[in-house]
Amino acid sequence: MVHWSAEEKQLIASLWGKVNVEECGAEALARLLIVYPWTQRFFANFGNLSSPTAIIGNPKVRAHGKKVLTSFGEAVKNLDNIKATYSKLSELHCEKLHVDPENFRLLGDILIIVLASHFARDFTPACQFAWQKLVGVVAHALARKYH
């Protein structure tokens, strides 16, 4: 089980409380598709992904980004049980979606950068540490049921 200090829990919860899940989710997913264009392979049916502008404005990207980050909120609410929280999603990503787990790490890093750009100086080094740890734990949990 992952150990979270009281400070880490506080840093995670307090930042999450200020996150606009719809906006940040949309932005994080859009950036994933822009910065690492090979990830578009998982979204062939999303329509126009031909340019950064198209990706950012794409309603399916926005909707899916919101879905992904909303799910991330489950980790924030269940820090002491992230493995169980993502058990089914892990199976889904392996068996149905066929996503290489390396992509979870990429999305995690992108989320960190989105948070940094929104919260600026409030995204302190201590905050980055806690969140980088969280995205790592989530990525690990999502990869756990792969076979």
């Binding site: 950068i113 750009s117 919260f119 995204f123 080094p125 980055q128 980088q132």
Partner: protein, 143 residues
Amino acid sequence: MLTADDKKLIQQVCEKSSGHMEEFGAEALERMFITFPQTKTYFPHFDLHHGSDQIRGHGKKVATALANAAKNLDNLSQALSELSNLHAYNLRVDPPCFALQLLSQCFQVVLAVHLGKDYTPEVHSAFDKFLSAVASVLAEKYR
């Protein structure tokens, strides 16, 4: 592969940041040491407290090298040749690219913190590619 647009964006960011070299470099290092403590193993001889002269000095060195690389985007291998030797034979940061990737992440966080909305997806993409290319060149001579 860096496109013409990427190169323009990278150079713009470096120009905008030119007065903040020491500050950005130091902050990137500090974030790296805090977020990824394993990177401290390369600096047992440093005072790693917040604001230390050594972090400031080293941060400036790193940022200046990156700024120089940004001015030589068509010839990164040559521009970084000495640093490539240093990292491969002396510093041997291990494994090639991985630890440098952690620094790259922290550098981008610093830029995102300071540029906010101006760290657009296009700029983000260009810079990520740039730092990847730099890390690759630095790792070229490892074996």
